[in-house]
Amino acid sequence: MNTDPSTGATEPLCQRCESPLEPEDLRCAVCALPVPISPLADVQQAVTQILRCNGCGAAVRYLAEIGAPRCDFCDSVMEIETPEDPVEQAEFFVRFAITDEQARKALKRWLGGLGFFRPSDLQSRAAVDALKPLWWVGWMFDAEGTMTWAADSNAGSRRADWAPHSGQAPLRLHNVVVPASRGLTEVECRGLIASYDISNVATQPPHHDRATFEQFAVQRSAARKIISGALEAAARNRAVPLIPGARHRKLSVAVLPTRLVSRHYAFPAYVLAYRYRDKLYRAIVHGQDATCVVGKAPISWARVAAVALAVIALIAVVATIATA
């Protein structure tokens, strides 16, 4: 990931922590400072209807002309829902860079390279049932501020294994992605995140024949909890290299974030359903990078059993030789 597009808007900032305030904010979401008189009071959030999947919980925008189709993530039935909270929309759409055909090929290549414990005919027999281009959603945030930490480490220890340490450091986080998708799992999102080129974005949904885009279906207050959780997790990661010594335990981190800016992103991906020996599996092909595929694939239990038997046999042989 490299440059991010400038938001360009002149949003009001919190007087205490300089984070941008959102419409309808009574208090700053980062530091809890009350907002004097709602400077954005007249910004009206349009009430939109969404389609919610009964299976995986993903939400997509409802378009009357399309009606209620099946869920692109899991193929379950979807129902119309009118949410009470304003629905947050993606502001930035990362563009697709590979075609349907390249996605199909990527899946085949991936199935062939999964290693020994997969069925040998997986690549040749797997048949793609469905291929759906879509945008899944996530927040991306930047933050500054300071972080203080305390932990035990082996450095400077005397009789006990551990000695206490503490420290503080400036915090600078840039383009940290927090998945908000309900349709994809956290693991699937994490697998895809690193490979996106976010300089290739549009501020409107780019024209695409069939691609649907997911909605942010988390309530705003819940969203902020998730983002502050991710901020703390990121701060912990930054703290680890600051701890002296080779081992540590009981790391605590306190953060004082300033200028926390989060943006709503939509990331392109192909969701593929493929069939192998009458069973359906799901794989996600990155919308820009054909070498990045995540998903589920069958395991060849015959091969696993063969290896296990071979190992047992080997142990038996070694044991016999040793005792002889």
Binding site: Q15, R16, C17, L26, R27, V30, C31, A32, L33, P34, S38, T146, T148, A150, A151, D152, S157, R158, R159, A160, D161, W162, A163, P164, H165, S166, G167, Q168, S221, R249, K250, L251, S252, A254, V255, L256
Partner: protein, 310 residues
């Protein structure tokens, strides 16, 4: 409804007994102070102090609040009979003034961190045959190491009462309030409810709030410490970018005066979460009787037991 004080649809009441200054809707026929059940209330002009910034709305409806109060009274077994017969219709939903404090805290601390380790020590003892033997055992020893450091965070959700009628410890007992449901104050919000004017100044409350914030920081610092345990935590706190806002909190109040001699009993219910606090009176006669009954039962059991009946 308009917000102008001239045709304000509330009338002001003052309690000469506890000092509460209340604004009561016109259809509210209250002859007693909801805080202290005193009939000594007088009309007073509406105070023109600062308007609250925010309010947390009532979620718990009056029938639910009344039912909770009834259950609470009935559950007080060791209370005098007169108390158990108390009426709950006097329960009132009151918007109680409080100050909400937020700040940025910068803390410097020193502490002793205890790191445990295990030693094997030998000791001599006598075995079953009376011989002197040497054995070993493991023992956990704590090595104390000094640590100093800094800690910084935002301080949020500190509430202190701005009402002389409601003690801060009572407020703490029914906290927390979910501030995600905070609404910007408007007089419309109060329609049909009693609202109290603040009877403590912002300056008084600021000191209380700072003290509460420092206490809260102590707990968070304790959680922050590494080691197996710690002691002697000392810290100095610098609070910057402080902010204090007058807000209204929804509280159901029932003041019970079940006889003229006994002190007032007060039940408070968090109007948002239903959390309840109150100390029912104790009837020493009932407690003595119960203790005697238990003792008698024990004595009887022992007697029957020694005679081999049981």
């Amino acid at each position: 409804m308009t917000a102008s004080p001239a045709n304000e649809p509330f009338h002001g009441l003052g309690c000469n007994s506890c000092g509460a200054r209340l604004n009561v809707p016109p259809d509210e026929r209250t002859a007693r102070c909801p805080y202290c059940a005193s009939p000594n209330i007088v009309m007073r002009p509406r105070a023109d102090g600062e308007d609250p910034t925010f309010a947390v709305g009532f979620v718990l409806p009056d029938n639910v609040a009344r039912e909770r109060a009834r259950k609470w009274i009935r559950g007080a077994w060791f209370s005098p009979g007169a108390f158990l017969r108390s009426d709950v219709t006097a329960i009132r939903g009151v918007y109680v003034p409080a100050y909400m404090f937020t700040a940025e805290a910068h803390v410097k601390y020193t502490v002793s961190i205890g790191e445990n380790y295990v030693v094997i020590e030998t000791y001599t003892t006598t075995d079953s045959k009376g011989r002197l033997v040497t054995r070993t055992r493991t023992k956990t020893v704590t090595e104390w190491r000094g640590l100093s450091g800094q800690w910084a965070s935002y301080i949020d959700d500190v509430f202190v009462t701005a009402s002389k009628g409601l003690h801060n410890t009572e407020l703490e007992a029914i906290e927390p309030f979910d501030t995600r449901a905070l609404k910007r104050y408007s007089p419309k919000l109060l329609s049909g409810w009693i609202a109290e004017d603040p009877s403590m100044t912002a300056t008084q409350c600021l000191e209380l709030a700072r003290a509460e914030a420092v206490g809260q920081i102590g707990h968070r610092l304790s959680d922050h410490m590494p080691g197996d345990r710690h002691r002697g935590l000392k810290y100095s706190t610098q609070l910057v970018h402080e902010d204090l806002e007058l807000i209204l909190l929804p509280i159901w109040i029932l003041a019970i005066k079940y006889d003229d001699e006994s002190p007032l009993v007060r039940l408070l219910i968090n109007g948002q979460t239903g959390a309840l606090v109150g100390q029912p009176p104790r009837s020493w006669i009932k407690i003595t009787v119960a203790v005697l009954a238990v003792l008698a039962a024990i004595a009887l059991t022992v007697m029957l037991g020694t005679r081999g009946v049981l």
